[in-house]
Amino acid sequence: MTAILSVNSATKKFGELVAVDNVSFEVNEGEIYGIAGPNGAGKTTLFNLITGIPYHTDAGVVTYRGEDISQLSPHKIYELGIARTFQKETAFDTLTVQENVRIGAVFGTELAVEDYDSAVDAALESLDLIDDRQRLAGELSLYAKKRLMIASAIVSNPNLLMLDEPAGGLNMAELSELESLILRLSQSEMTIIIIEHVLPLLFGVSNRVMVMDFGERLAEGAPEALARDDAVIEAYLGERGKDAFHAISG
């Protein structure tokens, strides 16, 4: 297995608060790597450090395919083939759906000018947004906006796609669709890192999962092993919750 991304001893402080504390992990080419943890564990901060938005690491090194990207500008990181989505549904609300995706195709990609339109159409088709192409992004529903964010990320055909809580606020049918979509994207040789609170989804799609708590890496491994890891259960449920969990599950 070749590592596409290596994070070594990444640290980020905000005053006295250590948001990410000496975290290291590797993501292999083609895998789906999950990141879980309670609110405030430092998951999104870790995403921000990798993509340089809006800040870089205070210490530690982030390496993408052997290149140090720790202090690289965000648009340069995108040019290298790393695209991310955001926790909150995000779009350029005053632009159309088509224009939103076009931005992802035009800047920082190797696409030829004559291929922009077909790449945009393919991304819109893939996310079932083709009929909404002329609508303003600000008019879309939450799920459609989340799909738009993914469409504008995959239009550049990135090597590494980073999804920050894509399932937040979705209903069961939408979750099921999202799971299929993630698996479909993974089959197209895209490496995916996903932060998610919806653990059935996260554990269902991920090859490996890292659990964070208080900015530190708590555990890493196969989803089925982590589901029974005492430290992980305690991070989510507390000590009494862990005891109750064991009492219920036997």
Binding site: T51, I53, P54, S73, P74, H75, Y78, E79, A83, R84, F86, T90, A91, F92, D93, T94, L95, T96, E99, R102, I103, G104, V106, F107, G108, T109, Q134, R135, L136, S152, A153, S156
Partner: protein, 338 residues
């Protein structure tokens, strides 16, 4: 439906151009023609300000300095070095473009009020530099004796048409340039950076480069307009850098409608008439009991406040809203914005 709308637009544009060409033939009053020329020059400056303020979301208070630099560069080249205005005017635009790059370098990574403060400081720096070099610039009195435009023996100031058509052509070129720019991928990137900077850079948009280019592109036509302005009025005055003119031009952008281009073009001309006619009529100052100058700027300030409160999209925003409502469902969002 789309073809019908496009055909209507072309017809409207054609009718507008024909009416424009007929104006100096029909209008006898020289003051009205003079104000039209002044209004079109201000419209160029205001609509280019809309590129940075409206589309890029960057409050560039040095924008008027580009106009002033164009005026002084062309004026100084003509008065002190005897260089033809036809060469001096492009030199003014080039100097304004250079100034825009210098101003943009520290400004592009700042946000909000800090951009306004920094660019305002830059504008004042240029003014102080001009005032301090009075042997060259004329200091507080301004640079006088700027030659008028002429081609061979034909003097522009002696003709009713020449300045009008020259400035009209410049305004047309500037408007076409701006509309093409904002409709391009570059325009999309400016809107994206304005709407959500972090998301925009996450989609590969180089923030520093795009903002620098926005400053640069917004300076070229004001630089040209500044040169023409100096040769039209045969003087380059430090009043160009004053707060009064800045407020007037800002009102053209805000009342016309930010991020529309057409709004500041149309309202630029209208506001010039309103402002100048108020300055030359006595009744307003009699009513308010103050001199004429302050009254017109009070009026401009009130107009800005009322527009921001009741029509934040400006006049062009209202027209687009009305136009969108009157269409029968066939319009796309693209057309709405175009």
């Amino acid at each position: 439906m789309i073809r019908f709308v496009d055909a209507n637009r072309r017809l409207l544009a054609l009718a507008g151009i024909v009416i424009f060409l007929l104006i100096p033939l029909v209008v006898e009053n020289k003051l009205l023609i003079h104000l039209a020329i002044l209004g079109m020059l201000y419209a160029i400056v205001a609509s280019n300000w809309d590129l940075t303020l409206g589309y890029a979301g960057v409050f560039n208070f040095a924008h008027l300095a580009f106009f002033g630099i164009g005026a002084y560069t062309s004026g100084i080249l003509a008065v002190k070095l005897g260089i033809s205005p036809w060469l001096g005017i492009p030199c003014g635009a080039a100097t304004a473009a250079l100034a825009s790059i210098i101003v943009s370098i520290p400004a592009i990574r700042l946000r909000g009020i800090y951009v306004a403060l920094l660019t305002f400081a830059c504008s004042q720096l240029v003014l102080l530099l001009l005032l301090s070099q009075h042997q060259i610039t004329g200091g507080q009195q301004g640079l006088t004796g700027v030659p008028q435009l002429q081609i061979g023996d034909f003097r522009f100031r002696e003709s009713k048409f020449a300045h009008f058509y020259l400035v009209g052509a410049l305004l047309l070129c500037s408007t076409i340039f701006l509309r093409r720019l904002v409709a391009s991928d570059f325009g999309l990137s400016l809107i994206a950076l304005r709407d959500f900077e972090e998301y925009a850079v996450a989609r590969g948009i180089p923030l520093a480069r795009q903002r620098l280019l926005a400053f640069l592109f917004s300076s070229i036509f004001p630089g040209l307009a500044g040169g023409v302005y100096a040769h039209f009025l045969i003087v380059a005055s430090p009043d160009i850098f004053g707060f009064s003119l800045a407020t007037l031009l800002l009102s053209m952008v805000l009342v016309g409608g930010v991020a529309t281009i057409y709004g500041p073009v149309v309202i630029g001309v209208v506001m010039t008439y309103v402002s100048e006619l108020m300055a030359s009529s006595a009744w307003m100052s009699d009513v308010f009991g103050v001199s004429r100058g302050p009254v017109r700027f009070m009026f401009v300030a009130v107009i800005i406040v009322l527009t921001m409160r009741f029509f934040p999209g400006g006049v062009w925003g209202l027209i687009k809203e009305y136009s969108a409502r009157s269409r029968l469902g066939g319009a796309t969002a693209d057309e709405e914005r175009a």
